[in-house]
């Protein structure tokens, strides 16, 4: 198996799917001659030409909607958003059209489209460029929302997303593009809607996704030194949530902490808590805790930026709290 960067894994997925199916095209700002703002589309223009790797004008709503129209008549667009911050301008097309076409047409239409791009905070960019927005999209029936943490999942889930008949929202980790991992070659597909136990443990379950997985892993390693065995459940898909996997893990460890980069209020983690307390309350030995980004706008100042985001020490403190090893 090859060691690939997250961005290379995505590039491989795009390349393989474009080769497999000429209905697949990629559109977005700077995806062509510039080879992608984050170099995910490196080399694709040369291989597939300008009708299939399209440099769009800075018109997020326009090219998102145009791609939805193409998907309505059977093409399979992959729409790269330079970052999800800018996709806010395209929200009408994603939410009011893509997510609702099948319903409003009474099952006549389908919309096989992938909206993908980097999400998440950090990098000293202040409020407008630094936010984890997945909860916004997880809210809408008609969309599937995915957020892989590892290069292998990134490749396998993008391939599944491109083949899926529904509109997919894919959050990549802006700060994960350069991380490396083993990635199976060729036909490696990861099913959507399935969480993954990334680390087996017996004392507590850490539930997370995307970049926060790495903080959880760091915390688990620290905690192991103190004799605490942590299970890490990487949700991978945020809509639909893999209830079965969540419940199975919590029933095993009887304790859970959810780590989410986004804001606490109306976050995805809130729904995970709801699933656990309504279906596995009797299995719990402690209240479920959440470690989230603070409910404030992101600051530029380094110390404030750090304080806003979850990190391993915050996760460790929460784990100790649910184990009653440390007070609130």
């Amino acid at each position: 198996m090859a060691e690939l960067m997250y961005r290379e894994a995505l590039n491989q997925a795009l390349d393989e799917e474009m080769k497999r199916d000429a209905n697949v095209f990629l559109i977005g700002e700077e995806v062509g001659r510039y080879n992608g703002a984050f170099k995910v589309s490196q080399g694709l223009l040369d291989r597939y030409g300008s009708a299939r790797v399209i440099d769009a004008p800075i018109s997020e709503l326009g090219f998102a909607g145009m791609s939805v129209g193409a998907a309505m008549v059977g093409l399979r667009p992959v729409v790269e958003m330079m970052t999800w911050n800018f996709a806010i301008l395209a929200m009408d097309q994603i939410v009011n059209n893509a997510a609702k076409l099948r319903h409003m047409s009474g099952g006549q239409l389908r919309c096989p489209i992938v909206f993908r791009g980097p999400g998440g905070a950090g990098g000293r960019l202040s409020s407008q460029h630094s936010q984890a927005l997945e909860a916004n999209y997880a809210h809408f029936p008609g969309l599937k929302v995915i957020a892989p943490a590892t290069p292998a999942d990134a490749k396998g889930m993008l391939k599944s997303a491109i083949r899926d008949e529904n509109p997919i929202i894919m959050f990549e980790g802006e700060r994960l593009y350069a991380i490396k991992g083993e990635v199976p070659e060729g036909e490696h597909v990861v099913p959507l809607g399935k969480a993954d136990v990334k680390r087996e443990g017996k004392d507590v379950t850490l539930i997370t996704w995307s970049r926060m997985y790495y903080f959880c892993e760091q915390a688990a390693q620290e905690l192991e030194k103190e004799g605490i065995s942590v299970e890490i459940l990487d949700l991978r898909t945020l809509r639909p949530l893999d209830e079965e996997a969540i419940l199975a893990s919590v029933r095993k460890t009887n304790r859970a902490v959810i780590c989410e980069e986004g804001w606490a209020l109306a976050g995805v983690g809130a729904s995970v808590v709801d699933i656990i307390q309504s279906k596995a309350f009797d299995d719990l030995d402690a209240p479920v805790l959440r470690v989230t980004g603070l409910d404030v706008n992101m600051s530029y100042a380094a110390n404030l930026e750090n304080a806003i985001q979850p990190d391993a020490p915050k996760i460790i403190a929460a784990v100790k709290q649910v184990l009653y090893r440390q007070g609130a």
Binding site: R20, D21, A22, N23, V24, F25, G32, R33, G49, S50, A51, R52, I54, D55, A56, P57, S59, L61, G62, F63, A64, G65, M66, S67, V68, G69, A70, A71, M72, V73, G74, L75, P77, D92, Q93, N96, N97, L101, R102, H103, M104, S105, G106, G107, Q108, L109, R110, P141, G142, K144, E165, N166
Partner: protein, 374 residues
């Protein structure tokens, strides 16, 4: 204007315009009876736009519209009973009653929907046109929108791309002079909407939207232009809605005399007078059509009334496509017709994409000029 119209064409247009008029009058009446709810935007007065356009394009060309969307599918040939059943929120509707008045979809007749967000359908049409070019099909896409929708950013973003990429799409602005209660000139810095095309180096022109034949001639010419790969078109069909914005609107923002004046321009008697004058049809022809259409619309209302409400089970269908799930063919589902002309598209293996958005030689030339080596 060419004058060699066939009797068949004139009578077909008359039949469709009269059907839309009659259908809408009955829809208004059913709204009053509480059988139709929500917003119900009638098309009365604008019939010539949909019908003239439809007769000028091919049945397999794509069409889509906004929320004032009963007229276009009827012009395309959709089943009047099923459109009415959709307005009633019944199983017999095109979307099983899930879409209602603002969201009629009839994919069998290549009508890709009505949309409730002002201007939201404009980018979709460019995408459908893009797909036609991508697959080397010579289809055009026709997209209707209102004068107020012309002020949405979606239109400007889309026109820029459609013109740059020469997409085969005909945008038809149905300028009925009001967006809800606001007269065009009060919100548009350039109230002649067609002029906006010039900002995108795109063909744009006005057309008399109260004249079915003018619509027919102009759209025919535009369709040829699009099919020849010359790019998109913006037509501004100057028309008038005789009723309020929706059934909930008494339309007090315009004067009685204005409406009376416009009613003299009614496109339906106009077409009839033309045909009589040219001796292409006789009064008896029109009277027969009117009787048939009245019976057709009565039957449509009866069909809608007798159609059951959807099962609660339907709540859980048609949101996410499950693996292996087929698309619903409404006429097959409701009337048992064997619908065979359902759109099918080439698989990825069969498809050869030969089109270049930015031809390579040109790109390389530009790079060289800029001192870049590729």
């Amino acid at each position: 204007m060419a004058s060699a119209y066939s009797k068949d064409l004139l009578l077909t247009m008359y039949r469709k315009m009269f059907l839309i008029r009659r259908f809408e009058e009955r829809a208004g009446q059913q709204y009053g009876l509480g059988k139709i709810a929500g917003f119900c935007h009638l098309y009365i007065g604008q019939e010539a736009v949909a019908v003239g356009t439809n007769e000028a394009i091919r049945p397999d060309d794509y069409m889509l519209s906004a929320y004032r969307d009963h007229g276009q599918p009827l012009a395309r040939g959709s089943d009047a009973g099923m459109v009415m059943a959709e307005l009633f929120g019944r199983t017999g509707g095109y979307s099983k009653g899930k879409g209602g008045s603002m969201h009629i979809f009839d994919i069998e007749h290549h009508f890709y929907g009505g949309y409730g967000i002002v201007g939201g359908q404009i980018p979709l049409a460019a995408g459908m046109a893009f797909a036609s070019r991508y697959r080397n099909e010579d289809r055009v896409t026709v997209c209707f929108f209102g004068d107020a929708a012309a002020n949405q950013g979606a239109l400007h973003e889309t026109f820029n791309m459609a013109a740059k990429w020469k997409l085969p799409v005909i945008y038809i602005c149905e300028n009925n002079r009001y967006g809800m209660g606001t007269a065009v000139g009060r919100t548009a810095s350039v109230p002649e909407i067609y002029k906006r095309a010039s900002a995108y180096n795109m063909r744009g022109e006005p057309v008399d939207g109260m004249d079915a034949l003018a619509m027919y001639e102009t759209v025919k010419d535009c369709a040829d232009y699009c099919r020849a790969g010359k790019g998109p078109v913006l037509l501004e069909a100057n028309t008038y809605r005789f009723r309020g914005h929706s059934m909930a609107d008494p339309a007090t923002y315009r004067s009685k005399s204005e409406v009376e004046e416009e009613r003299k321009n009614d496109p339906i008697p106009k077409l009839r007078a033309f045909a009589l004058k040219k001796k292409l049809a006789a009064d008896a022809d029109f009277e027969a059509i009117e009787e048939e259409v009245k019976a057709q619309v009565d039957a449509a209302v009866k069909f809608a009334d007798e159609s059951p409400e959807p099962d609660l089970e339907e709540l859980w269908r048609d949101t996410i496509v499950e693996e292996g799930e087929e698309d619903v063919r409404p006429r097959q589902r409701v009337l048992g017709h064997n619908v065979t002309n359902w759109p099918s598209y080439p698989s990825g293996q069969e498809l050869k994409v030969t089109w270049d958005l930015e031809p390579r030689e040109q790109a390389e030339k530009e790079d060289k000029k800029a001192g870049l080596v590729r």
